[in-house]
Symmetry: D2
Subunit: 363 residues, 4 copies
Amino acid sequence: MGSTWGNSIRISVFGESHGAGIGVTIDGFPPGVVYDEAFILREMERRAPGRNKQSTARSESDTPRILSGVFDGRTTGTPVCAVIENTNQHSGDYAGLADQPRPGHADYTGMLRYKKCNDPRGGGHFSGRLTAPLVFAGALCKLWLKMQGVLVGSHIQSIAQIQDMPFDDVCVTPAQLEQLRLADYPVQNPRALDAMLAAIEDARLEQDSVGGVIECAAIGVPAGLGSPMMDTVESRLSSILFAVPAVKGVEFGAGFGFAALRGSHANDAFYKDGDVVKTETNNNGGILGGITSGMPLLVRAAIKPTPSISQTQQTLSLSRGTVEQLSIHGRHDPCIVTRAAPVIEAAVAVALADLVREANGYA
Amino acid sequence: MGSTWGNSIRISVFGESHGAGIGVTIDGFPPGVVYDEAFILREMERRAPGRNKQSTARSESDTPRILSGVFDGRTTGTPVCAVIENTNQHSGDYAGLADQPRPGHADYTGMLRYKKCNDPRGGGHFSGRLTAPLVFAGALCKLWLKMQGVLVGSHIQSIAQIQDMPFDDVCVTPAQLEQLRLADYPVQNPRALDAMLAAIEDARLEQDSVGGVIECAAIGVPAGLGSPMMDTVESRLSSILFAVPAVKGVEFGAGFGFAALRGSHANDAFYKDGDVVKTETNNNGGILGGITSGMPLLVRAAIKPTPSISQTQQTLSLSRGTVEQLSIHGRHDPCIVTRAAPVIEAAVAVALADLVREANGYA
Amino acid sequence: MGSTWGNSIRISVFGESHGAGIGVTIDGFPPGVVYDEAFILREMERRAPGRNKQSTARSESDTPRILSGVFDGRTTGTPVCAVIENTNQHSGDYAGLADQPRPGHADYTGMLRYKKCNDPRGGGHFSGRLTAPLVFAGALCKLWLKMQGVLVGSHIQSIAQIQDMPFDDVCVTPAQLEQLRLADYPVQNPRALDAMLAAIEDARLEQDSVGGVIECAAIGVPAGLGSPMMDTVESRLSSILFAVPAVKGVEFGAGFGFAALRGSHANDAFYKDGDVVKTETNNNGGILGGITSGMPLLVRAAIKPTPSISQTQQTLSLSRGTVEQLSIHGRHDPCIVTRAAPVIEAAVAVALADLVREANGYA
Amino acid sequence: MGSTWGNSIRISVFGESHGAGIGVTIDGFPPGVVYDEAFILREMERRAPGRNKQSTARSESDTPRILSGVFDGRTTGTPVCAVIENTNQHSGDYAGLADQPRPGHADYTGMLRYKKCNDPRGGGHFSGRLTAPLVFAGALCKLWLKMQGVLVGSHIQSIAQIQDMPFDDVCVTPAQLEQLRLADYPVQNPRALDAMLAAIEDARLEQDSVGGVIECAAIGVPAGLGSPMMDTVESRLSSILFAVPAVKGVEFGAGFGFAALRGSHANDAFYKDGDVVKTETNNNGGILGGITSGMPLLVRAAIKPTPSISQTQQTLSLSRGTVEQLSIHGRHDPCIVTRAAPVIEAAVAVALADLVREANGYA
């Protein structure tokens, strides 16, 4: 399959980087959600390239056009389809890539998978541009989640090993998430941001790229969502997070850091705060036995350095069978992590909306 | 839902730790696979407790009984059901847990999710014992994958921060995987193993527990499996890996290490080895754009320290609303990582079998 | 795939007619439903052979053993697995069928599908015996549906063209369904029953068999269940009804009879009965636009004559390539319609429980 | 959910009758299929209204615009999205329907299901217009099926009880299906057609409507497709056929006619025609045990009379709670059966393509 995800809310993404248009159909979305266009456009803008000198200057028109599912300013409950037209794409930039697969890209595997019929221009369906419809879907899901008291936000945890201050595992506030949403760069420690931007600029000057980590939090998540064994909250979240191009690692709570902890420190002790059962620490990232505990849900995603770099690289000519030099022209981000936060949030929002809707039914 | 996983091969796990029996139904498994009981029992034994002084001495009868799907020594193509009877369980050990949820366990979230109707004895359906049917399913899938030239194996990458030698990212051999399969402890560096066992013994003496990381490799995986966007190989593998209790992080190839790499080093350059397209490095862990590249598939899973520790812990009495002392009786592993390798392999084997069957169809 | 069905409640059936056992795993079943064993055994008994001289005298032990999912007399919310052991099967009766496929049976297509690896004894996984686990699942779903005010029942609408009195499309009562459940033969008109039994006896004496139609009703179904387009209530119900061996037609409300009606008569006029919106007729069988209307849900399933007849028939020897005479030994029902009512009800109950649970969520 | 269907090929339909546009995304469609626009437009035209005086004169622009999935004239293997813009819709025609639900329509149940948020104009997402994207998807599937040697065609079996000559159950030819595809009205017996048209005209003059039956055949279907129990070919076909608005009955082969047959006549005797195993009769409609036999696949769908009639009808004012007179304005087909053939074929083609792709894998 490939481009469909979800159970009670199902999104189906389509499009190629240089085709006529890209978009998403969202099936099972609840009726009666006010379509807040300003909020959605802001989410799209957070992901859009060209917002700063580090990111690609390629002009994209990312305004989604609603074909269905919204009537009188509210969602209808039947499928929402949004289309983003592709305009001003310079396909010429990408000529020859079908023969010389870019290292670290899907050019080679995509060609195998689709028997050389896939659209190679700009990566086709594999392009990072396909995260735009995901952000649209996530923005819509955020609007509904907000009605349920659930907020999703994130910050850049690291770029090129420069660390931001992590979320407090037991206390993430709405104000904090809102501030990150409105920031040009969602970083909590201004000095870390300066260092990150410098590292990106270094990489750019050396025609190279850098990666990083996004940390995402969801607060207000009802306790008791999800299922044991094969359908844990971690399973669902990771399956959509690994759908985001360039994500190569996902961890919850202490994650890989658990390997350094003993049980006596790793276990989160229960206590009662008024009527609410809480834990004193939250190493489990708000998920116990695959089910939400009501504590902040915390997940981190590792994002690899942009594979498209301006430096000359070595690759294989598939037709000639010889190793050759490859120069990738066009403008490419030396770091996509700065634009990744809304994408990671969107993936988390879609997964949580799917879970909440499953728990709530049609209600 | 909860306990069902897969598309072309679908497994459905059932059972509770102290119920009548546990087991698995495997729907869509290919016909004609010779049922190699010795191999399957060996896989079950690799996971079984009681094999060494570090692991729990609780006696378990893990011999699966085949109810269906095997005829004349071969799989029939119709559902395979295997049942493992539960015997000699001392439920008394677990009394009171319904009121005093164990920190780090699913006692509290399971109670919420199932409205206090879940079987609390030994964790019920959330028990680590439920990985036994998963290992059975994985063993069966390994038998079929072997017919397709695909081998799956793993080693303990770390316990309590003591690191084993990692897999060579471009060269993992069948002999190496076979040696790990036969080892008492699947560790590549004997000195690391000694240190790991010492760390476990230390934890045991202090009534504590330690966690670690399993690194798993699959070799012979055909290039071109999987799909872009929502159904990447990473998505599928992670969704079943996070179904393994205690797994809190999953990464592929360089994974979180990508954050420290620049694109020029992270990108895996293509070359040709005879007729085969390969990459000189394999930071992407055998997966590009969500699709297998033919290079070794490499995945690591972080496993948290056993939450059941003998030390007195603090927890909440749900009925009294007061914080109280909790002493968990019974015998518990101070480290489950030593038994986790076959479970992680099983999850990977099931996911790969599902992918290969999807690619091959009924053939 | 094959043997798994459902979204919010998922059943997975396993077993072969002459294997070690048959059974079903039910994933997603609601917690807290009292396990009424007497009710369930009665449902099993309604389906069981050997209850009267017309049906096969083959002795079957149909008592399900619960392996999981029931604790302290109530369902736990985690998977319910029930196993029915196979005993006293005389496999010898079926020897040779692998070479001489029985006309009207799955012997030939099953062999193709599973590359001659399927268990041919007694039809293996294709056997009508596999409806026993379906009846178990249906009985459990009925217990939960009853708590929601939904009742499912049925009668034999026809056997060998002899018609029973159909359900009144706007008024089916609980008492009526209860009476049918308790009857030896669920037929509303006693004279029709006498004629049906005579027709079956005629067929038996001529070593032949007859088919018929089951009409099933569900009352108390909440209005507003289901979805338009691809997931209509008709879609779901038909997909599980056609899973019942021998069902070859499914119709809702007026069904094929609509072809004889004009719109002015076919349309069901709305009116209000107290606070409840009803329709004066119910030609649409309680479903409008794929969604339940609150009127009685009415569905009919056509069941073909038992293909296993004692008469000598012509078939092909697959090995010799010649047309040969086939005599099917053993005892076979001249009419399975008399046992089909609980099976059809079970299919409807499973589908409705799946729909109601989807609408209600975890609640 | 609602508007998504399929396993290996998944279609997701969106749109409302009077919204901005309708369309479909097809995920998992095989790469390399030549996009034969003329064929596809012809299929769209066969369904389109306004082709003759009996059908509605409402002007529709049904030309699909391809947004993705087609490159260099061939399918890419990644999702195909086609959009049909809605133009010149007169929404005024439908005002007031939200309060006065049309009998036989989804107005009332749709309002319940979507909590009064659904788009009521022209039936919204429930409109018969939504069959246009299904026909597009079916046409694309037909192009691929043809490459596999599979042809799908149909004829009007009956309108208002006037019967066409049915398909010969053991011999349906490509020429016969091609002739039906090209015909203005797919009827095999010209005299039956004359009588049908007269019956429609009668109904129209009386401001009424009539229903009928479509018989669909698929030839060249490989033997051995499908699965027993829960995923039979009948299950899959019926689940998508009941997704077509107005379909209220589905039967395979002899279908409900089986009830009148004895086993000795119903059973289809096997023989060998050259190297091919065939059956002398085909009462089972090409499906045995849920699996294709290689004989022509035969299915019939009952279509209810158009519920929108010009006659004054009785309905309920939901706001006032009183029974009132309803006059439906606008132009409506007195018979949609004449346009239903390509829709039924499309549903069958999508289901068969899904099955063949599952059997073939990526190949």
